[in-house]
């Protein structure tokens, strides 16, 4: 897996440090709670235990029982209560211990939280965050990528970062946003990925994709853990003379159409790589956008490398087969490049 520096950093200047993806999440929450007493955290085992992945370790010690709430196992209550808190001007961060469990609160999110501003002018400044994604043998109920359920819900914002720099900057932006933001943290990246973050306060804008690698032969669109898989494939493609432009979507809702269209109009070919299952994944939406807005620019079909249309299987052999890989991305890109 290729290591990447977060874009927007100055490439390892002395005032920056290498931190893990997980540390970036922790720093973002710590700094936001330090900055604004309206920011509180609630979720299962986020207090004394510091969170199942230790993303909130130390927060209770510093901010106390009123700002770090250990809750019962009640996802609807966690998210409903966070919504109610936001109506009084708080900016709660609700943690789902594993993002798979977010669907237990599906109604609360899609009907209550998401529709409030449109219907009765009630903003709900809250963040729902948690560990997502596969590749760690978590099995069918601890590996999900449920982002597209929510991308289909007007009123939400959906973020899925791939680097520590983005994770920290986007989480801070999410906390400061006046809308409900869903923030997915790929758990495969938690301790495997390190990157530079600046010493001071910064945010990364929500709704902006970023070019991770420039190229002219085709565009690869990806996000989260598959971003790194795509970069690895791009390295291999370069050795065969195929220069892929790799774009990190970072935010799925609202989608940065401009960056996507600019790149595809340059390379004329587009491959989408995501860990989410194929049917109903973001690739289908991107295909539609390209058909509507860049049809004449396409020299080949939109291609996609995704997980299989199955639940996430448990055995390593099965999961490996289920997930996209650099090899699969490489093969698809080569095929696309031939057009």
């Amino acid at each position: 897996m290729a290591k990447t520096n977060g874009t927007g950093t100055n490439g390892g200047a002395p005032n920056e440090t290498q931190i893990t993806f997980l540390e970036a999440i922790k720093q973002a929450m710590f700094e936001e709670m330090e900055r604004d007493p309206a920011v509180i955290l609630l979720g299962q085992d986020v207090g004394v235990y510091g969170g199942a992945f230790k993303t909130s370790e130390g927060l209770l010690e510093r901010f106390g029982w009123e700002r770090v709430l250990d809750t019962p196992i009640s996802e609807s209550a966690i998210i409903g209560a966070a919504c109610g808190m936001s109506y009084l001007g708080l900016r709660p961060i609700a943690e789902m211990q594993f993002i798979d469990f977010i669907v237990c609160a599906f109604n609360q999110i899609t009907n209550f939280v998401a529709k409030g501003h449109y219907l009765w002018n009630a903003p709900a400044p809250m963040v729902i965050r948690g560990p997502s994604g596969g590749g760690v043998h978590g099995g069918p109920f601890h590996s999900a990528n449920p982002e597209m359920y929510f991308v289909h819900t007007p009123g939400l914002k959906v973020i899925y970062p791939s680097t520590p720099y983005d994770a920290k900057g986007l989480l801070k932006a999410a906390v400061r946003d006046n809308n409900p933001v869903l923030f997915f943290e790929h758990k495969f990246l938690y301790r495997r990925i390190k990157g530079e973050v600046p010493a001071g306060d910064y945010t990364v804008p929500i709704g902006k994709a970023v070019v991770r690698r420039e190229g002219k032969h085709l565009t690869i669109l990806s996000y989260a853990a598959m971003m790194h898989t795509s970069l690895e494939a791009a390295e291999a493609l370069a050795k065969e003379g195929i220069e892929a432009e790799v774009i990190d979507l970072r935010t799925l809702l609202p989608l940065d159409e401009e960056t996507i269209l600019t790149s595809v109009k340059k390379t004329n070919k587009c491959l989408v790589v995501h860990e989410d299952t194929k049917t109903g994944g973001i690739a289908g939406e991107i295909a539609a956008i390209l058909c509507e807005k860049a049809f004449d620019d396409l020299d080949g079909p939109l291609m996609r490398v995704t997980s299989l249309d199955t639940p996430v299987p448990y055995a390593p052999t099965l999961e490996e087969h289920f997930l996209p890989s650099a090899k699969k991305v490489f093969a698809a890109a080569k095929e696309l490049a031939r057009y």
Partner: protein
């Protein structure tokens, strides 16, 4: 009914019940004239509950109505025109035609949270409102309503349990009108009193005659005072009857004639008028004055509503997202020193100390003698416990170090019962 309010309070209750019924009677007319876009839900015969409970709240308190709580909205200060226009989908309505019925709110002034059609969702939301109010030092109470039908939803239980665990200043009115659409309460819930649901969460409950507005008010007032004082959430079951069908389209032929006759003879407004007359609080003249006031108001409000335009079609495209400070300036209203919730004063030791369950620091991996209440602790464990942070005290109380005691009591009672078994 006992006499324990001031005359103006008695007359307020009467005025709001009459206004509640007047607003709904007028909406039935509008419905029959095809001026109401969607469905119309009636609270006929349940006015004492909406009015009596909401009247127990202070101005700063928060409420979230259900579809049959028009009376609560009127008490909180919503003008009848807003209710008419909501139903008529008018541009000047609180939601500008984006939603109907009682689905609207007001965060800034009246402190009303809008309901959604999915029942029970307001319970965790209002729990969050009440926790936030406590956190900000506002000393508010949050109130919402649920029906006998809605009390079987998952969120009802998740929300009430969380409110109980947090000792939230929250009052839940369970309006038992005996019918969830066509299904009688006996077929939904194997309980005689739905107030018994409170026992599962270790919170207090009341049962009140929902057609007796004075009883409803005094009970709600007591609950609100107790919740505000930090005693935790309270459930009130108000027993009543849904006189109309689920909505206008439903003739409710499934309701037994005797049941309907019984409750029609117990009309809350007629009962209250009798009480007021007997107590010499209301005479023909003052009754006529009140009626005149309501008729004039409603005629004016209806005219305004009818003259309001339909929303322009393009409005449908706007308002999905808050665009920032230009759209909403979100500022928490602090009524306590912020220093109390920021370091260093907020700093605590992250340790649970649970007599009977040992003690332990989760995140640091400190070893702790953990045993469960239904097994005898090993001898060495018991010995360790005597030296632990709680000094081996009996399992009567659980305290979490530096935790606000009031949020812990409910858990304590449950755990200690377990420990003694």
């Amino acid at each position: 009914m006992k006499k324990e309010l001031t005359r103006s309070q008695y007359l307020d209750l009467y005025y709001y019940m009459r206004l509640n019924r007047g607003v709904e009677d007028m909406m039935v007319k509008l419905f029959r004239q095809n001026k109401i876009v969607g469905g119309l839900y009636s609270s006929l015969g349940q006015e004492a509950i909406s009015v009596g409970t909401a009247y127990a709240l202070e101005k700063k308190d928060w409420l979230a109505p259900m579809i049959r709580n028009i009376g609560a909205l009127l008490v909180k200060g919503v003008p009848p025109r807003d209710i008419f226009m909501q139903h008529m989908a008018k541009y000047d309505s609180p939601t500008k035609g984006k939603d109907g019925t009682s689905h609207f709110g007001d965060l800034d002034n009246l402190h009303i949270v809008s309901p959604i059609s999915m029942l029970g969702d307001l319970i965790p939301v209002m729990t969050g409102v009440s926790i936030a109010g406590r956190y900000l030092g506002q000393k508010i109470v949050a109130m919402t309503w649920i029906g006998d039908g809605g009390s079987s939803t998952g969120v009802f239980h998740e929300g009430l349990n969380f409110a109980a665990a947090q000792k939230a200043p929250f009052v839940l009115i369970l309006e038992n009108n005996l019918w969830a659409y066509s299904t009688p309460v006996r077929k939904q819930v194997p309980l005689v009193n739905l107030a018994d649901r409170a026992k599962a969460y270790g919170i207090d409950s009341y049962i009140v005659d929902g057609n007796d507005v004075v009883a409803v008010y005094t009970t709600a007032k007591e609950a609100v005072v107790r919740a505000r004082a930090g005693e935790g959430p309270i459930l009130i079951e108000a027993k009543t009857f849904r006189r109309m069908g689920h909505a206008q389209h439903d003739p409710a032929e499934y309701v037994p004639k005797e049941m309907r006759a019984y409750w029609e003879a117990r009309d809350p407004i007629a009962l209250y008028e009798k009480f007021l007359t007997n107590e010499r609080l209301l005479d023909t003249e003052s009754k006529n004055q009140i009626e005149e006031k309501i008729n004039t108001l409603l005629a004016r409000e209806r005219e305004f509503a009818e003259n309001s335009p339909m929303p322009p079609p393009e409005l449908a495209e706007t308002g999905v997202y808050c665009t920032g400070d230009d759209c909403h300036k979100i500022r928490a209203k602090w009524e306590r020193p912020i220093a109390e919730v920021t370091p260093p004063r907020s700093t605590v030791e992250a340790v649970w100390t649970v007599p009977g369950f040992g003690s332990g620091k989760g995140s640091g991996g400190a070893s702790a003698p953990i045993h469960f209440g239904d097994t005898q602790p090993a001898k060495h464990a018991a010995g360790n416990e005597a030296n632990s942070a709680n000094g081996g005290k009996s399992a009567a109380k659980i305290t979490a170090k530096a935790a606000p005691k009031k949020t812990m009591k409910a858990t304590a009672a449950n755990a200690s019962r377990k420990a003694r078994r």
